[in-house]
Amino acid sequence: MSKEVKLFLGPNHPGMHGNSSVHLYVEGDTVVKSRLVPGFLHRGFEKLMERRTWMQNLALIPRICVPEPDINEMVYAMAIETLTGIEVPEKAHWIRMIILELARIAAHLMAMGGIGGATGLYTMPYWVMPDRDRILDIFEKITGARIYHMYIIPGGVRKDLPQGIEKDILEVLDYIESRSDEYENLLLKHRVIRTRTKGLGVLTREEALEMGVTGVGLRATGLPYDIRKVDPYARYDKVEFEVPTATEGDGYARFTLKYLELQQSIRIIRQCIDMMPKEGPVNVRFSRGSALRFRVPAGSVYAHVESSRGEYGYFVVSDGGEKPYRIHVRGASYPQGLYGVENKLPGTRIEDVALWLGTMDFCSPEIDR
């Protein structure tokens, strides 16, 4: 009988997805018990929000999720819009969708790079990062920033799209599509990757539902649960796209779905560019007064969107003041990050832990908030 050893994966470890720590108890090469130790990254986001004005929080919330900050802006804006009963202008809906889908592509590319990294296939991150950078270039042109855009605001978006940006976006989409063969060959058709991920970290539908796992984790069990379809926001009900699903529920299925979703995002953005009104306002003020004194009517609301990692939501309570009374963030990574790590890692081999975390798309800041 081998001895049980305790190993620390993270917080600063190349195999760790963000600054969390997983304590692994291993016997030989196999994990027998695992504990997530969060708290190394941001802490107190939700409390910080209660101390800032509604407007100031726009600079804080994107930081909850670095790879895909825009979803925070979106759910926050949606929550406030519901509380104020404000109608977002048509054009803003389409711009928001473009932003969100670009962000999804960027996040999926990064996740694919992460899977490459966890399997020792470093070419993948080396390729996806510069490709992702092209999307960041687009963000820079639209919002003025590459990562923290602070662009989707309550009432619409902060500025209209710059002239001619549609052409730039289409060029980037074409480019990413032109890379498809290479991505597929390098990652999805790769013998080693397939061998390493097939049958890895199988999550059954029952398990996923019980834990609250959404996103590709759930869709890989055959359930086409996607907020964009089940509770469409913006103008997702006006565009055509598919929600890819799989039945295997394993690591390979999950990252393949990510890749397929990336293709769907490209499809959505192209439709948005076609269908978006060329003219018209891009925001309405949700309250009169200076930003220092914006107030949101009292009430509570839960707003949710489909992030690249699953259902992402904010439960917002306003007491009618200039600051939120309470905001609770439902991070998509929370179930798989917390329950998943503790329930599903035991039985896994050590070298597969990083891969499991990668295919589940575990994102620390969504847990440390």
Partner: protein, 609 residues
């Protein structure tokens, strides 16, 4: 669906990357490779010091406390503060909210992409007009109308339309509703620029905030700290504060005056009195006489009464209020608003002896005997004349006595003497008093069933006229005709009756140095027709109540009394304020009264000690 079959295993999969072995890497080597940032890039900040008012709104909106306002060595003008934002890039999130809220548009962001320095202190800097790295970086992120975080439009004040309001002397400004007041109050950015400009240094942002928080009771407290005539000032103050309000740089200034009125209109006189009484802080002994129940006299009385002094005001007119009661027309300042303010002052035990003219019914020497100190707030009571030929005609009147007559008549039409209501009137002057006369007579004409026929002529051009713009605009709406840039030459009299005013073109009012030095074009002569003329070219003080030996000891500067910063004249027991010190302006009078109260208290305590 099985995804295993979607992508079939490829023999070449692992080797696909090799073909890129010799392609050029995309690495950017900063700072050697120049990377042009996008036109909207949110880089470092630049601040145009000329435009910047030091309002500190950027630092208030900053979510990370990255902006600190630091004192700078510049000459301060009204509406500006000698401070500028310093930005700590260790904290900045580059959100650009400071740019979006900047009240003047002085703050912008550059397209600078990198900042490399061995010195960590360079990450905290004071922006100046030369840019951060002194290299005139191209501008990046700038605010536009979509991203603007200020509310530039004022909540419109409901007023009776011109054609309706000229039918009566009813107050035509309706006042804000609760909702409107709260929205208007929410536009304030709490920059405090208004405080310095307000002669009474009212804590405007605080009372505006109380409106925003729907707590007008608290608002009353803030107002009364420096101004016991809010009902009056909330209606007719010259609102200098609004001229510097930082929102006014790019939009309409906060309606400070109407918000003050809103607060006071919400609270009952009894409640205000209760508050005021709670403020009586210490019991001092001593008696102070105040001459004139105008703005300065009433203000001085209020604050002295709070300090516990026993106060008597001597007022020559039948009712207290001075210019507020007898000068300003009812449609702008109804008696009820003034009475409410005076009620509070009287409730503190201030005695107002009306119909008592100092110098006639009681002498200043007697006051000196009976009281420990005397405050003069006698105001400007006499009019100035153009002295052109014909002004001695009985139908050439002075503005103030006419306004007084009109107010007396409106108050008590049965017993008061009816003011003359000519079929056509010419008003000489371009100030607010001229507007008051013109608009009052227009109303009387209308009420008498006559056609409105009032003409205003002034030396100044339409743009230069000293009257408030709103007075001119409203006057026009009410049917007043304007004849600007004309100088009176002679009253034209035929068969003993006035038929008009001969005027010549005024080509210039002020000389290069800005001094009053009108120039005329004698060849351009016009006769403005009218049967009555009112001269409203300015008012002057009447010091006839001052005994000669006192007059000799007092110092005057161009007709005004010279006092120190506590309102004390060169005679220690004699204090003064208001028009006779600062010229005609209610809020100056209030401020003077407050200052003098502090001065008198100090003087009396020193005397006791």
């Amino acid at each position: 669906m099985s995804v295993y079959e979607t992508f079939k295993k490829s023999f070449w999969g692992p080797t696909i990357a090799w073909k890129r072995l010799f392609t050029k890497p995309v690495t950017i080597r900063v700072p050697k490779v120049y990377r042009e940032a996008a036109p909207r890039y949110r880089g470092f900040h630049v601040n145009d010091w000329e435009l910047c008012s030091g309002c500190s709104t950027c630092s208030k909106v900053c979510p990370t406390d990255a902006i600190k306002m630091v004192p700078v060595d510049i000459t301060v003008e009204p509406g500006k503060k000698a401070q500028r934002p310093a930005i700590d890039y260790g904290r900045c999130t580059f959100c650009a909210m400071c740019v979006d809220i900047c009240t003047t548009g002085s703050l912008n962001m550059t397209r600078e992409y990198i900042h490399i320095s061995d010195d960590p202190n360079t990450f905290f800097f004071l922006p100046d007009e030369t840019g951060i790295h002194h290299n005139n970086p191209p501008l990046g992120y700038q605010r536009d109308e979509n991203s603007d975080l200020l509310d530039l439009e004022r909540v419109e004040m409901e007023e009776l339309p011109g054609e309706d309001r000229v039918d009566s002397f009813i107050e035509f400004v309706k006042g804000y509703s609760r909702e409107q007041a709260i929205v208007e109050a929410s536009r304030c950015v709490d920059c405090e620029l208004c405080i310095d400009v307000c002669p009474a240094n009212m804590d405007i942002p605080r009372y505006i905030e109380s409106v925003y928080r729907d707590n007008t009771t608290e608002g009353v407290d803030w107002i009364y700290k420096t101004n016991p005539l809010p009902g009056v000032c909330g209606r007719v103050c010259t609102h200098k504060c609004e001229t510097v309000c930082s929102i006014g740089h790019r939009g309409e200034p906060v309606a400070i005056r109407w918000l003050k009125r809103y607060i006071i209109d919400q609270e009952s006189t009894e409640d205000i009195i209760r508050h005021a009484k709670e403020e009586i802080v210490k019991k001092s002994t001593g008696k102070v006489a105040i001459i004139g129940a105008g703005p300065s006299g009433l203000a001085a009385a209020y604050y002295l009464a709070l300090m516990g002094y026993s106060i008597t005001i001597f007022e020559s007119k039948a009712l207290p209020g001075g210019v507020m009661r007898y000068g300003i027309p009812r449609y702008r300042l109804p008696d009820e608003a003034l009475d409410k303010d005076i009620e509070v002052i009287k409730a503190l035990g201030v005695e107002i002896k009306c119909n008592t003219t100092v110098g006639k019914d009681i002498t200043l020497d007697e006051l000196k005997e009976k009281y420990d100190a005397v405050f003069l707030g006698t105001g400007f009571t006499t009019g100035r004349s153009t002295r052109v030929p014909g002004t001695d005609h009985k139908n050439v009147l002075m503005a103030l006595p006419l306004l007084e007559k009109i107010r007396d008549y409106l108050r008590d039409p049965e017993n008061a003497e009816k003011p003359p209501i000519p079929a056509s009137l010419i008003v000489i002057g371009g100030g607010n008093v001229a507007m008051d006369v013109a608009r009052s007579v227009a109303r009387l004409q209308k009420m008498e069933g006559k056609k409105i026929n009032v003409k205003v002529t002034s030396l100044e051009s339409m743009e230069e006229m000293p009257a408030d713009l709103e007075e001119i605009v409203e006057g026009k709406e009410e049917g007043i005709m304007f004849f600007p840039s004309r100088g009176p030459k002679e009253v034209v009299i035929k068969d003993g009756k006035i038929v008009g005013l001969k005027t010549v073109a005024c080509t210039r009012v002020f000389d290069e140095e800005g001094r009053f030095n009108p120039q005329f074009d004698e060849s351009d002569v016009t006769i403005i027709e009218g049967e009555m003329i009112v001269e409203a070219i300015g008012q002057a003080p009447d010091y006839s109540y001052l005994p000669e030996e006192l007059s000799e000891k007092l110092e005057f500067v161009r007709g005004r009394l010279l006092v120190n910063e506590k309102g004390q004249t060169s005679i220690p027991w004699l204090f003064a304020g208001g028009d006779i010190v600062h010229g005609p302006d209610i809020i100056h009078g209030v401020a003077d009264g407050h200052k003098a109260a502090i001065g008198i208290d100090e003087f009396l305590r020193n005397k006791e000690g």
